[in-house]
């Protein structure tokens, strides 16, 4: 009950932050505007619409990822420091609230806020892709250009892969939020912002640390070092599946299986971060 109460107040507080509201509104606005990016809008032949629909999907996913990064970092860096600065933490921790309850409550609030934001963006994104596909199919089926498309499949109006895309983005920033929250226990917001950025950039290049860890010519200690880095730094590139979502049958045999594995990775990593945050926060002087 305590963790949930703290989470609720965190959500209420975060959703009212002007800067996060702006990120959300701008992201949703741009996703809607992406309908107009293609040369042919939604009225095209089935073949021509392929690039248009792909553009809308890839742009929407990229934008949600960018917005998700901004939201999770901007929100996360101030989660604990703001409570200390505003002294709200005093009236809470002076009550019979265990420290781990407080920090877990803050994290739960952060990921709920993230879920709301990404959920809203996701709904708009899926609606936009459905509208785009519907427009292309309706036009292609009724115009004379449809005759030339006789050999093409009908365009599926709803692509379930778009949901996986949104889920992956959420999982990615759930992990980043945990990292940033952990750092917020002992770093100032400014330092934490750049720390979060740095960890994200290294995490995006996870395949590089993986290659270095398995480089044949490197000596044992170098390989071990990079293996440790590869395990310890979150591999954010694992969550980047836009290409596979746009061309799902070209590589991965099962998106569901991959998502489950990556989801497990995300949960484990989050647990590690939160456990470390609990340990450090126990000795945090406020």
């Amino acid at each position: 009950m305590i963790i949930w109460s703290i989470a609720k107040t965190t959500v209420g507080d975060a959703l009212r932050k002007k800067v996060l509201q702006i990120f959300l509104v701008v992201a949703i606005g741009l996703i809607i505007i992406s309908l107009s990016f293609s040369q042919t809008l939604s009225f095209s032949t089935r073949e021509g619409s392929a690039t248009d629909i792909m553009l809308v999907k890839s742009f929407g996913l990229g934008l949600m990822a960018l917005a998700g990064w901004l939201i999770s970092v901007v929100m996360g860096v101030s989660l604990i420091p703001q409570e200390i600065e505003r002294r709200t933490i005093y009236t809470i921790l002076s009550k019979p609230v265990k420290r781990y309850e407080f920090i877990l409550g803050k994290y739960l609030g952060a990921v709920l806020t993230l879920a709301i934001n990404i959920g809203l963006m996701g709904i708009v994104f899926i609606a936009v892709t459905v509208f785009k596909a519907w427009g292309a199919e309706t036009a292609a089926a009724t115009t004379s250009a449809g005759i030339a498309d006789a050999g093409m499949q009908k365009i599926d109006i709803f692509d379930p892969n778009t949901i996986w895309g949104v889920v992956m983005i959420y999982l990615q920033f759930m992990v980043l939020s945990a990292v940033v929250l952990f750092f917020s226990v002992f770093l100032t917001p400014t330092v934490n912002f750049f720390m979060g950025l740095g960890v994200y950039i290294i995490g995006i290049m996870g395949s590089m640390t993986q290659s270095l860890a398995s480089a044949e010519k490197a000596n044992f200690f170098v390989k071990t070092f990079y293996k440790v880095v590869h395990v310890v730094v979150p591999n954010f590139d694992k969550f980047q599946v836009t290409n596979q979502l746009l061309h799902p049958e070209t590589h991965i045999t099962s998106m569901a299986k991959y998502t489950a594995q990556v989801g497990l990775y995300a949960i484990l990593y989050t647990l590690v971060m939160m456990t470390l945050a609990v340990i450090f926060f126990e000795r945090k002087e406020v």
């Binding site: 690039t51 792909m54 890839s58 290409n243 049958e249 590690v272 456990t275």
Partner: protein
């Protein structure tokens, strides 16, 4: 506050979870490696440097496919304005940003093969290795898709290089895979025509039994696709009829050209099915009736038709003369199927071509010797088409490689070939050149009705000077070769 023992427990838990993370990574990492785009080669890296910084940032931050899509739309604009040179670097960048966009590989390869043309609309053959390398890269990145294999085989090896054996290999692989819907990325069955094209390709290289098997396979596949009505809306009875007619004609041609009466019977069986249908056109019914009677008569008199086994003197004459520096004239004669002979060919029973053609007014009447093509090729002496390991559109501009075909009309052919206007295309830097002029009995150089007389493999062909049985084992072709000095051309 947590006790020391609990703290140690938590730290231990963290270590255990880190080990768990390592284990999960060992499952996920290999899958992830497959997703990564190939390392860009030197040319791609140079191109990347030229892109504005924001494109690079965008491509790193998860907007790769957006950039790829935007660039590809731009490439389409270049195509419509004829700026083909601009398209290829875009193709390279797009395939690096999004290695699973099939359309880019196929369109890019097509541009390379067909759109760099000279003054007289002949394409620059030096780009063909790049087209093939691009498609092979596409196949490497997308191995389980029929489209790219088919493109490589049909459009490039078959149509461009006339390397029918290699084309066949690619098309056989294409027929193992299904495709991907470009709009949703979902798996869709490959179109039924792919399997039919493979059957035609078997015929082209003279593997008749394989062709027969393939026609039957294609037909079964169409039946299955008709069964799945919801998914595939464009496959119906007419698709089955196409398979039946082609298989039927193949059987009948085996009979008419080589005397295979068993094949005659099988072909008739198929045409009977087609003729028996209520909606069958009158000419099909008539054709079946005629062929049945012919079959019965031949069986009774033990007189199987063997039209393609009767020797025919092609009387191939060819000359090459220089009209001006880098301008030359190729002309000659060839006798492939006189009209007078055609009316007596066994295949006339079913096609009625001669009879129908004879009814036409003179100005519309085709001469049966028309429709064949004579091929010619001029290259630097010793030139071998390179096989590129990786895609690169940089060509060796010192090489001269050109080939084309000349249409035969009325048994003669003549063409003035002007290579003087495009010095970039035809640099003529070498001292010696090889000129080859030839005719093969394979499609498309040799249409059906000519093959009806000379056979799929040119079995009936004879010629005093130019008959060649070594260049294409199993086939009889007509071939003229000559070594030219630079002064002969310039």
């Amino acid at each position: 506050m947590i006790s020391d023992s609990n703290r140690k427990l938590l730290i231990g838990l963290v270590l255990v979870m880190l080990v768990g993370i390592g284990i999960v990574q060992s499952y996920v990492d290999p899958i992830q490696l497959k997703m990564m785009p190939r390392d860009p080669n030197k040319e791609t890296r140079e191109l990347m440097v030229q892109l504005p910084g924001q494109f690079i940032v965008a491509s790193v931050t998860g907007f790769k496919e957006v950039i790829a899509g935007a660039l590809w739309i731009r490439a389409d604009t270049f195509f419509h304005t004829g700026q083909y040179q601009a398209i290829i670097p875009i193709v390279r960048l797009v395939t690096w940003l999004d290695p699973h966009n099939i359309d880019v590989y196929t369109t890019g390869a097509w541009h390379l093969d067909y759109n760099f043309v000279d003054y007289s609309q002949m394409s620059d053959k030096r780009y063909i290795p790049a087209a093939i390398a691009l498609l092979k890269e596409g196949i490497k990145n997308n191995p389980g898709i029929w489209d790219l294999w088919f493109e490589l085989g049909w459009t490039h090896y078959n149509k461009k290089l006339q390397d029918y054996e290699k084309a066949l290999e690619c098309m056989e692989i294409a027929c193992k895979y299904d495709g991907v819907d470009p709009n949703t990325g979902q798996r869709v069955p490959r179109p039924e025509y792919v399997d039919r094209m493979l059957a035609h390709q078997y015929e082209k290289v003279g593997r008749f039994q394989d062709a027969i098997k393939q026609w039957k396979k294609a037909r079964r596949r169409v039946e299955q696709m008709i069964g799945k009505k919801k998914k595939i809306s464009y496959v119906d009875q007419s698709s089955l009829d196409v398979c039946d007619r082609n298989l039927g004609m193949l059987y009948l041609r085996l009979a008419y050209r080589y005397g295979d009466m068993d094949a005659y019977k099988k072909g008739l069986e198929i045409f009977r099915r087609l003729a028996d249908r209520k909606e069958a056109p009158a000419d099909v019914k008539q054709a079946y009736e005629n062929a049945s009677k012919d079959y019965a008569r031949r069986l009774a008199t033990n007189n199987p038709p063997r039209d393609a086994l009767k020797p025919l003197d092609a009387g191939f004459e060819v000359s090459w003369t220089k009209a001006a520096p880098k301008v030359f004239i190729i002309k000659g004669k060839i006798n492939l199927c006189p009209a007078s002979e055609y009316k007596d060919l066994a295949v006339e029973t079913i096609t009625n071509w001669y009879r129908n053609n004879a009814k036409l007014p003179p100005e519309r009447r085709a001469l049966w010797r028309d429709g064949a093509r004579i091929r010619w090729m001029l290259t630097d002496y010793g030139y071998k088409m390179p096989e590129l390991e990786t895609f690169s559109w940089k060509i060796d501009t010192t090489k001269t490689v050109v080939w084309d075909s000349i249409y035969v009309s009325g048994g003669t052919f003549s063409e003035r070939i002007d290579l003087s206007r495009d010095t970039e295309f035809y640099p003529f830097k070498a001292d010696k050149y090889k000129l080859t002029i030839w005719f093969t009995p394979q499609q498309p150089d040799c249409p059906d009705y000519i093959q009806d007389r000379i056979g799929w493999k040119g079995e009936a062909l004879t010629d005093k000077r130019y008959l060649d049985t070594k260049s294409m084992p199993g086939f009889k072709i007509l071939k003229y070769e000559r070594i030219l000095d630079k002064k002969d051309i310039m």
